[in-house]
């Protein structure tokens, strides 16, 4: 299995998210490795939407949430990050922070929309807002760092070839 390939990344994410990442929580919120990987694949490769759908589907099947919600949100985020890849010339740290911020807020908004208005079942608003706030902070801080690390590793691999 080649380190840095989409299959490896997706496989690792699905294993690490429900196990290791659960111990790294702030205010009840945890980093969404799946979101980080989807954005990374969308920003660095083509077929971002497809990767997003696969990651989201695996996250839905492995988790206990509403089936299809992550598939939809990650699929859309993968697609949007692919669009961002074409529109933006470069990805500096502030740009990535902003992207992760917006992506987390987008996902949270989609979750609220579906649970509140379509399924009429949602967590209390204060809990939702607090969790979303912490999640946005965590993703905005760690997401770009992980993307930079993955880019660096991919660069090393290309140089060795």
């Amino acid at each position: 299995m080649i380190w840095g390939s989409p299959v490896t990344l997706i496989g690792l994410t699905v294993f690490l998210q429900p196990t290791l990442v659960q111990y790294l929580s702030v205010g009840g919120a945890r980093s969404d490795l799946c979101l980080v990987v989807v954005l990374y694949l969308g920003l660095s490769r083509t077929q971002g939407g497809n990767y997003g759908i696969v990651v989201g589907l695996l996250q839905d099947l492995a988790g206990g949430g509403i089936l299809g919600l992550n598939t939809l949100s990650k699929g859309l985020l993968g697609l949007l990050s692919e669009v961002a890849q074409r529109q933006l010339l470069s990805f500096s740290y502030p740009t990535l922070v902003l992207l992760f911020l917006l992506a987390t807020l987008f996902e949270g908004g989609l979750f609220l929309l579906l649970t509140q208005y379509l399924l009429t079942l949602a967590p209390p608003k204060e809990v939702f807002l607090r969790t979303l706030m912490f999640q946005t902070l965590i993703n905005a801080v760690f997401g770009p760092l992980i993307v930079f690390l993955l880019n660096r590793l991919a660069g090393e691999r290309r140089r060795r070839r």
Binding site: G28, C34, T131
Partner: protein, 260 residues
């Protein structure tokens, strides 16, 4: 030569020479000797200390390493002891329950990032676990089985916002619905306005609905809210089981019965 023989002969015959020089020699040499001896002793002491320090340093490093090993071992034994205590408590609880149960370990939490309260256990259909079965810990109610595979199952915790448990206040026997709110405190809703509920009251499962057996402890009331709720009042309930520290749980295989 002659002088030597003379001195020897005189010394043998008498103890002292009449013109003895020995005291003068001693007087002159003693301070010098004293300084030299002191210097040599100090040098020897420094050397001894240096050598000792090197040995002490090495022994210190050895002992530190040994201490680290022992600390790791101590943590391991503490972990084993704590696990033993948890399992003993679980076994005692299992013996007191009037139900058939299967013990399970929590192996993962929900892969989502904080919206849902779901854990994965390592028992499945091969162990007799089915969807909808109640899951408990010695401290109290934990949740119900959401999905089952052959060797694992997902458990919806009672803190999840999708969870609702038919519960009653143990002291006054008034019933309500305990709703999860994605945090450690759940809300008990639909309590009649005239229900006698006070902070400190225990809340237990009522047995209605056929999922949770009657009498399982859920938590304690910490706050009662009577304002603006129409015909009902609400209560905040602090759960007795710590959902963030779940390690071993029991799945109740039999669905009906009461807590003995």
């Amino acid at each position: 030569m002659g002088c030597s023989f003379f001195l020897i002969t005189f010394h043998v015959k008498k103890s002292e020479l009449p013109f003895s020089l020995e005291p003068y020699v001693i007087t002159f040499l003693t301070p010098v000797q004293s300084v030299v001896t002191r210097t040599v002793r100090q040098a020897t002491s420094v050397w001894d200390h240096y050598v000792n320090l090197v040995e002490v340093k090495e022994e210190n490093a050895r002992l530190k390493k040994r201490l680290q090993q022992l600390t790791v071992e101590r943590h391991r034994y503490q972990e084993i002891e704590q696990r033993y205590q948890r399992l003993a408590k679980l076994l005692d609880f299992k013996a007191r329950l009037a139900h058939k149960t299967v013990a399970a370990e929590v192996v993962a939490r929900d892969s989502n990032t904080g919206w849902y309260e779901v854990v994965v256990i390592n028992r499945g259909s091969q162990d007799g676990v089915e969807k909808g079965m109640a899951v408990v810990a010695p401290e109290g109610l934990v949740g119900q089985v959401l999905q089952v595979s052959s060797h694992g199952a997902k458990v919806l915790l009672i803190t999840d916002f999708r969870s609702s448990v038919d519960a009653l206040v143990q002291r006054s026997r008034h019933s309500g619905i305990l709703i999860g709110s994605s945090r450690e405190i759940c809300q008990m809703k639909y309590l009649p306005l005239n229900a006698d509920v006070r902070p400190g009251d225990w809340v237990v499962s009522s047995g209605m609905g056929g999922i949770y057996p009657k009498g399982l402890p859920i938590g304690r009331v910490i706050r009662v809210n009577k304002k603006g709720q129409g015909f009902f009042q609400e209560a905040d309930v602090a759960l007795s089981a710590d959902m963030n520290a779940l390690e071993e749980v029991l799945v109740i295989i039999e669905r009906e019965g009461t807590l003995s």
